[in-house]
Subunit: 170 residues, 2 copies
């Protein structure tokens, strides 16, 4: 559609304005509808470079626009996506031992859990991490699937983490 | 090109094998050549969701493949991109005061500086952060550009950060 300010293009302002006038592209509106209707958002991905693969980061960048997910002074506990839960479930390349050095796993969760979900007012459940499925036995891989299946059954009884710096960096 | 293992597709293995046989796509080979020839990598971007915009994350995901940037037991101080410097220079949406709460800025630098650059053996210079250029006066914006121009002049005399957990989480 037309630009709100064609003199000085600002991606954040343009998506915000487009959201308000219902001018976002169809795929984004559909994704936002899914988010709106969901009680729980599960992000399942292979960890790439201590973070989400670019395509999933692109989903965050494009879908969670101002006006929809947060707004001026509506962030963190005041974020617009209230009463929702999120869960980051991912596989790693390295072993659990490698990530245990220096607490890397919790450090790298900060931008995703705190910087994105918590910022939007979404509560965060304990992450679900499947370490190095490529390098373990078939039996171990089956155990991982069983563990995930089991967890899904009682997910609704879980309490969110407190998402404070202490959780990440204590 | 052909797949190394068409039974079980593994992105990491396929790019590693493609790198070794010279089978990566042309755009990646060109980017890798630039990295190889560079003494200093400057990543300039607007901070999106406590991280790089997806398109830049995609550059990391696609260009820094195993065999080129790191290898089995060749990571961190043994990473393959030795004798190079990197610098993350970015603009933020929020003010310096907002990011100062809880040390957010250094926490969010961990995955990029430590998890990517340090992992590949690239040394890291102090980040260059321009806070909220959208919300400051024209004079302030000019000051930001001047500060960056000044810094570039003496960049080669700078010492890298130690990239230890203390730098990020002390």
């Amino acid at each position: 559609g037309h630009l709100h300010n064609s003199e000085a293009f600002n991606y954040g302002v343009e998506t915000w304005e487009a959201y308000k006038r219902g001018g976002l592209s169809k795929d984004l509106v559909e994704e936002q509808k899914k988010v709106q209707e969901a009680d729980l958002l599960i992000f399942q991905f292979p960890l790439f470079w201590f973070s989400m693969p670019a395509i999933l980061k692109g989903w965050m960048d494009r879908v969670l626009v101002q006006g929809f997910a947060y707004d001026l002074s509506k962030a963190y506990d005041g974020g617009l996506l209230q009463d929702k839960l999120s869960l980051f479930s991912f596989t790693t390349g390295g072993s659990k031992e490698k990530y245990a050095i220096r607490g890397d796993i919790r450090y790298l969760l900060w931008p995703m859990q705190h910087g994105i979900m918590h910022f939007c007012g979404v509560k965060v459940l304990e992450p679900h991490i499947s370490y190095a499925p490529e390098n373990v036995s078939e039996d171990k891989r089956k155990e991982m699937l069983t563990a995930w299946t089991q967890r899904l059954k009682t997910l609704w009884k879980e309490e969110p983490i407190d998402c404070s710096p202490e959780w990440y960096f204590k």
